[in-house]
């Protein structure tokens, strides 16, 4: 495929930039405040941060505003912005066991240590449009918050506790077995081009920044039989985890908390032979923000990518990892919208020559045998007004 540089569109591009801005603001509604977006579009921003691989809620809100709510574009902008900053710190490994839990459930066990905590979820509600929000006012919000707060005795609130992990119970009972040993190198795919087979660290990093819909599609394909992994949720937890770094003086410092979603997906693992005891293995999912679909599907694909003997797309590292990065996929798709005049002209020219040759050949045959009718003339009028297409 060949490319040539062209010019002449600068003014049109500038005008298009103004026009898209015009469409954003032409109704002259009040400017959307970033604080509003950050608070009321929490889940959209969580998704953008995860796919942008950049935890920065304030910039997630700004990106969302800038692109009129297009999540893929917003994630693209975040990832580009991230590239302008220097990496100064590496955190200590997150400790999800000491998470400030906002939600944690298990679909494998009814009784889990600390209990099932539904947390902030719409999973158990009907997906009916809430017309009350049409007329939502500040008074409504204040009244709701007052009523919500009144349910707790502010003088004696309960202590904050942490929760034991479900997988620790399975492990203690000897039901969990590690999958066969594999490459344990810690690779950073933002610094080192990924090669296949990729170490598990690279796979987990790529899945953590994958586009939610992309890994949902492949995770779903595996659950439907194309990949051999149909797990249950051992534990799904959402909450805040501490981030700590080493400062220039060498001291371990707390620098803040980030919201993450963690999924531990239980699957039955392959056994060596018919007589071997079956055991369970875990597929692991972890991503920025509250994004349960993504964490669950990451866990499914983590296992699917370690499943031997299947040849479904969900088992293929390159297929899964290269095609689920939303920024890469959108970028490549978007490039189709850029001018391809030269390459298309080349193809068009070849096609015309081939058609001419075929016509000539048929004409020759027609002269020797009159049974074959003449092909109709091509409708040249279609291209007549466009010099580029007239060849």
């Amino acid at each position: 495929m060949g490319y040539v540089a062209v010019k002449g569109g600068t003014e049109a591009i500038e005008n298009a930039t103004d026009l898209v801005e015009f469409y954003r603001v032409r109704d002259q509604t009040s400017p959307v405040q970033l604080q509003q977006l950050q608070a009321q579009f929490r889940l959209a921003i969580d998704k953008i941060m995860g796919e942008g691989s950049f935890y920065a809620p304030e910039y997630g809100a700004l990106a969302l505003k800038q692109v009129e709510g297009d999540g893929l574009e917003a994630a693209f902008i975040l990832r580009a912005f991230r590239a302008t900053l220097s990496r100064k710190y590496y955190s200590a490994i997150l400790d999800t066991k000491s998470m400030f839990v906002q939600r944690r459930i298990s679909s494998s066990f009814r009784d889990i240590p600390g209990g099932q905590v539904l947390g902030p979820t719409r999973d158990y509600t009907q997906r009916l449009i809430d017309t009350r929000l049409v007329d939502e006012t500040n008074e409504h919000i204040r009244a709701f918050l007052a009523g919500f707060a009144s349910r707790i005795d502010a003088a004696t609130p309960g202590e904050v506790t942490t929760f034991g992990k479900v997988v620790d119970i399975l492990r203690a009972q000897g039901l969990l077995k590690e999958v066969r040993p594999e490459d344990r190198r810690v690779v950073d795919i933002t610094r080192e081009a990924v090669k296949f087979p990729a170490p598990r660290s690279a796979r987990l990093q790529m899945l953590a920044r994958a586009e939610t819909g992309g890994i949902m599609a492949l995770g779903y394909s595996s659950m439907r039989g194309h990949g051999g992994v149909h797990p249950t949720v051992g534990e799904l937890r959402v909450g805040l985890v501490d981030v700590k770094v080493t400062d220039p003086a060498g001291r371990n410092r707390y620098i803040g908390r980030i919201r993450v979603t963690e999924a531990e997906m239980i699957t039955e693992a392959q056994t060596a032979g018919k007589e071997a005891v079956p055991y369970y293995a875990i597929g692991y999912g972890l991503c920025f923000g509250q994004n349960e679909t993504k964490a669950i599907c990451m866990g499914i694909l983590d296992r699917a990518l370690r499943t031997e003997g299947n040849r479904a797309p969900a088992n293929d590292q390159e297929f899964v990892l290269y095609h689920t990065d939303g920024i890469e996929a959108m970028g490549f798709t978007s490039h189709l919208k850029l001018p391809h005049y030269v390459t298309f002209q080349s193809g068009l020219s070849n096609l015309r020559e081939a058609v001419d040759r075929e016509r000539a050949a048929k004409k020759d045959q027609g002269q020797s045998s009159t049974a074959e009718p003449e092909p109709p003339e091509q409708p040249a009028v279609v291209f007549a007004e466009n010099p580029d297409l007239t060849g």
């Binding site: 304030e58 991230r82 990496r87 904050v160 660290s201 963690e262 875990i282």
Partner: protein, 141 residues
């Protein structure tokens, strides 16, 4: 449990922190800004919970700042685009490094903020725990 100073300073009200530093600390010290607050990145490390396979989860926006008080360096680091908080963190860090006489004032501020943070978290957690499922078998009604 003794409060972690950085935890309190990162989680407390920014307005309260700025007011405290500007009213209670800056009039008494010469704070030299050796590295102005600037944003950077922290790569967040994680590991899976069964095989402890380490991997990189993604990067987090971070602000860092460096000051000097009485010849003692102080470092302020926090998540987000938070230049004021990073400056306050660095100033308090330098004061603790210097072992200054006004530390009791700082400690009183930290204690008050710690209590406020704990109360806020307990209230939130209490609301969260109201969503805990109380399973009953069908025949239990």
């Amino acid at each position: 449990m003794a409060p972690d100073r950085d935890y309190v300073l990162c989680e407390c009200s920014l307005e309260a922190l700025k007011t405290f530093v500007s009213d209670q600390l800056l009039p008494y010290y010469q704070v030299n800004l050796t590295k102005a607050p600037a944003t950077c990145l922290t790569m967040v490390r994680a590991e899976d919970s069964v095989e402890n396979q380490e991997f990189y989860l993604g990067e987090a926006l971070t602000t860092e700042c460096e000051v000097e008080v009485n010849g003692q360096a102080g470092y302020g680091i926090c998540l987000g685009d938070e230049p004021d908080r990073a400056y306050c963190l660095a100033t308090v860090d330098a004061l603790f490094a210097a072992g200054d006489a006004r530390l009791p004032t700082v400690e009183a501020f930290l204690a008050a903020q710690w209590a406020a943070i704990q109360q806020r978290e307990r209230l939130e957690f209490s609301q969260i725990m109201r969503t805990k499922v109380d399973f009953k078998l069908m025949e239990q009604g």
